[in-house]
């Protein structure tokens, strides 16, 4: 009947397989097709199917179908979900809280305080009037086209998530730089986080948390954006001149003094480059996260796609680009200032 019958016949596993032939389990699409055409399996060598789960299932019912595998994964996940939730929920609750508060704050402050404040911050970071002008023009434009609230929402989410990325990522990077073993463990994890398509993060998270909770997209953004800051902290500390470290040792510095007095300051340009990339990646992810109810400019992009409002889609896309430019320039200016003071 099926191509791979002979294996089970030869190995004498027919009994283990059950009767063979039509079982009482659910029928696969292939079974149904086979039934309708009524053909029996006189397959030419050219058409031999790969011995996949489904093909083997045809020959022996005890072998599960691939469909069973995915359902298995799903039930498995749903089974551990509740226990996982007990651990993860309280742990991530502050994230929801921080996101909510920040979103509220950034929208509650009136624009005539907020925009000058952002200009002031960019001046403090970059010390460049050109930069301040850029910030003023961009935010002015976005407010002028009535996207002010959306912009502030996006910015609030990025601030919170990037801050948490730095808060967690820098210590992880430091731990990696101090032990080769930790580094060996972390690198595959970071590789995975970096290469997984962003949508894939969202799938288990949707099951884990309700879509109304901000931490759902918060976690997705953090997981996606934390990688560069971890990597570059590790790299930066490892690249610190060994001669300088030796001098620190020779003058009797403790490990702590060495870390905070020498290694971190000298790794700062690399760490800042990591922060820059982390911010840019949170921006990319916050747009995608609007699929799971993240507010902000991403919602407008989504509206543009869903209801084919071309103008809205384009304008909000432009808004995201402007935001990206501002964030990039401001962090790069900070980086340049650190570099200038060091060499």
């Amino acid at each position: 009947m099926a191509t791979y019958d002979f294996i089970f016949d030869k190995l004498g596993l027919r009994g283990w397989c059950g009767d063979g032939g039509s079982g009482d389990g659910p029928m696969s699409m292939a079974d149904l097709l086979g039934q309708t055409t009524g053909e029996d399996t006189a397959v030419s060598a050219w058409d031999t199917p790969f011995p996949s789960l489904d093909a083997l299932h045809d020959a022996c019912e005890t072998i599960p179908q691939s469909r069973d595998l995915t359902t298995g994964l799903e039930t498995g996940f749903l089974n551990i979900k509740d226990t996982l939730k007990i651990v993860v929920d309280p742990l991530t609750q502050p994230l929801s809280w921080a996101l909510n508060e920040m979103l509220w704050l950034m929208q509650a402050v009136p624009w005539w305080i907020m925009i000058p404040l952002l200009m002031l911050i960019s001046y403090a970071v970059g010390r460049s009037l050109k930069l301040v002008a850029l910030v003023a023009v961009c935010f002015g434009f976005l407010a002028f086209v009535d996207y002010y609230d959306y912009t502030m929402q996006t910015l609030a989410i990025i601030f919170v998530c990037a801050f948490i990325c730095v808060l967690l990522g820098v210590p992880i990077g430091i731990a990696m730089s101090r032990s080769d073993r930790t580094q060996r463990v972390m690198i595959p994890i970071l590789d995975m986080l970096q290469t997984l398509p962003p949508f894939v993060y969202l799938i288990p998270l949707i099951f884990l948390f309700s879509v109304t909770e901000p931490k759902l997209y918060g976690i997705a953004i953090i997981l996606y954006a934390i990688v560069p800051v971890v990597r570059l902290t590790d790299l930066g500390i490892r690249l610190v001149d060994q001669d300088v470290i030796e001098a620190a040792d020779a003058f009797g510095m403790t490990d702590r003094q060495k870390l905070f007095g020498v290694q971190i300051p000298l790794a700062l340009p690399n760490i800042m480059a990591g922060v820059n990339q982390t911010i840019m990646m949170s921006l990319a992810m916050v747009v995608i996260a609007s699929l799971v109810s993240a507010p902000g400019l991403g919602v407008l992009v989504l509206r543009g796609i869903r209801s084919l409002e071309l103008g809205v889609g384009l304008l909000s896309g432009l808004g995201i680009v402007l935001l990206a430019i501002i964030l990039d320039r401001v962090t790069k200016a900070a980086l340049a200032r650190i570099n200038a003071s060091q060499n």
């Binding site: 001669d243 510095m253 020498v262 300051p265 060499n343």
Partner: protein, 354 residues
């Protein structure tokens, strides 16, 4: 200047590799550096080193690249731990020190100057100079005066707020020396401290070190691969080759009595007239009753005597130390001393045989 021994190194071995204990047995049975590397994949860093370093004097460790000089000096503050042996400082075995004692040793009793300066690029000249007090938690305001004093002493005034990359190499190394001096430690370790500087600056720095030594009388351990430099600075000279000591002693003595073809090679290119001192070649008792043409200081080099004699080999000089006669120098002896002597035989033959 007493003849106390500040640092004693006893039977020190260092082997780099996965199983140094195993390799140590082979080394103790006489295996050399190349065989050890070829047969067991271990690098012999130091092989049975015994040195006494006198307090208040300069001990120079000299050898070619890879001979183990840096490895040796790093044992003195335990930046490297030995495979076997002892390092005694003021009679204390520093290998028995715990972390805290070791930090104390590095903060207060020893300081180090590095070949590549190794200044902190993110700190100003003043902050770099005050490294030792700042490690102890002193504020900048508190150590600033002390640091400025030493900066001035090495000839770097008014550069306090510069960053290291704004200074030339010679200036950076002055900061490195001021940093070491600010720790007020008795011992100063200098690993090829002047090797990265160009020749003129280098001579300046050597003179600076000699001046400082005359004033401060620290126990200096100085590493170099340059014989001229070592002869200029050394009170005690240790010559290393492939991890073991070929010869050690007073530099003038080594120059006149090289123990080994390796050292003969080293000393053959040197300007002996400039390096040798009258005290090393004079006769203690004035035998001949020749006319004394004049007086020379016991520490004067032969070049100055030749100059004074106008090249006349018949003259004799009285060698004076602190106003007293300590010997007689015959110009003929002097001229003979200018040519290297390989024992009683022809030096070339001795080298070929040995």
């Amino acid at each position: 200047m007493s003849d106390d021994i500040k640092i004693r190194i006893r039977n020190l071995y260092k082997i780099f590799g996965d199983n140094p204990e195993m390799a140590l047995d082979h080394v103790k049975q006489g295996m050399g550096k190349t065989e050890l590397l070829a047969e067991h994949g271990h690098v012999l860093g130091l092989n049975d080193i015994n040195v006494d370093m006198p307090a208040g004097k300069t001990t120079v460790i000299m050898g070619l690249s890879g001979s183990g000089k840096s490895t040796l000096i790093r044992h003195l503050n335990r930046l490297i731990d030995p495979t076997a042996g002892q390092v005694l400082i003021d009679g204390d075995d520093i290998l028995s020190y715990n972390d805290k004692q070791l930090r104390d040793l590095r903060q207060h009793r020893m300081s180090m100057v590095f070949q590549k300066f190794a200044l902190f690029p993110h700190r100003t000249v003043l902050e770099n100079t005050g490294l030792a007090p700042s490690v102890e938690g002193e504020s900048k305001k508190k150590y600033a005066d002390e640091a400025r004093k030493w900066l001035a002493r090495v000839g770097l005034e008014g550069q306090d707020d510069q960053y290291p990359h704004q200074l030339s190499g010679g200036m950076q190394q002055r900061v490195g020396i001021a940093r070491a001096l600010t720790s007020n430690s008795d011992i100063m370790l200098m690993d090829e401290a002047f090797s990265a500087l160009d020749p003129l600056i280098r001579t300046d720095m050597q003179n600076l070190l000699i001046e400082l030594q005359a004033e401060l009388a620290k126990t200096v351990v100085f590493i170099t691969h340059d014989l001229d430099e070592s002869l200029k600075l050394a009170d005690h000279l240790v010559i290393l080759k492939d991890g073991f000591i070929v010869q050690q002693g007073e530099p003038q003595h080594i120059l006149l009595n090289p123990a080994d073809p390796y050292i003969e090679d080293f000393v053959s290119d040197i300007n002996r007239a400039r390096v040798l001192r009258t005290r090393s070649v004079m006769q203690k008792t004035g035998t001949g009753t020749k006319d004394i043409a004049g007086e020379v200081d016991h520490d004067a080099n032969l070049e100055s005597v030749i100059e004074a004699s106008g090249g006349d080999t018949n003259k004799c000089y009285r060698v004076m130390k602190n106003g007293e006669e300590v010997g007689i120098l015959d110009m003929r002896t002097l001229v003979r001393a200018l040519v290297p002597q390989g024992g009683s035989d022809d030096p070339e033959a001795a080298r070929r045989a040995g």
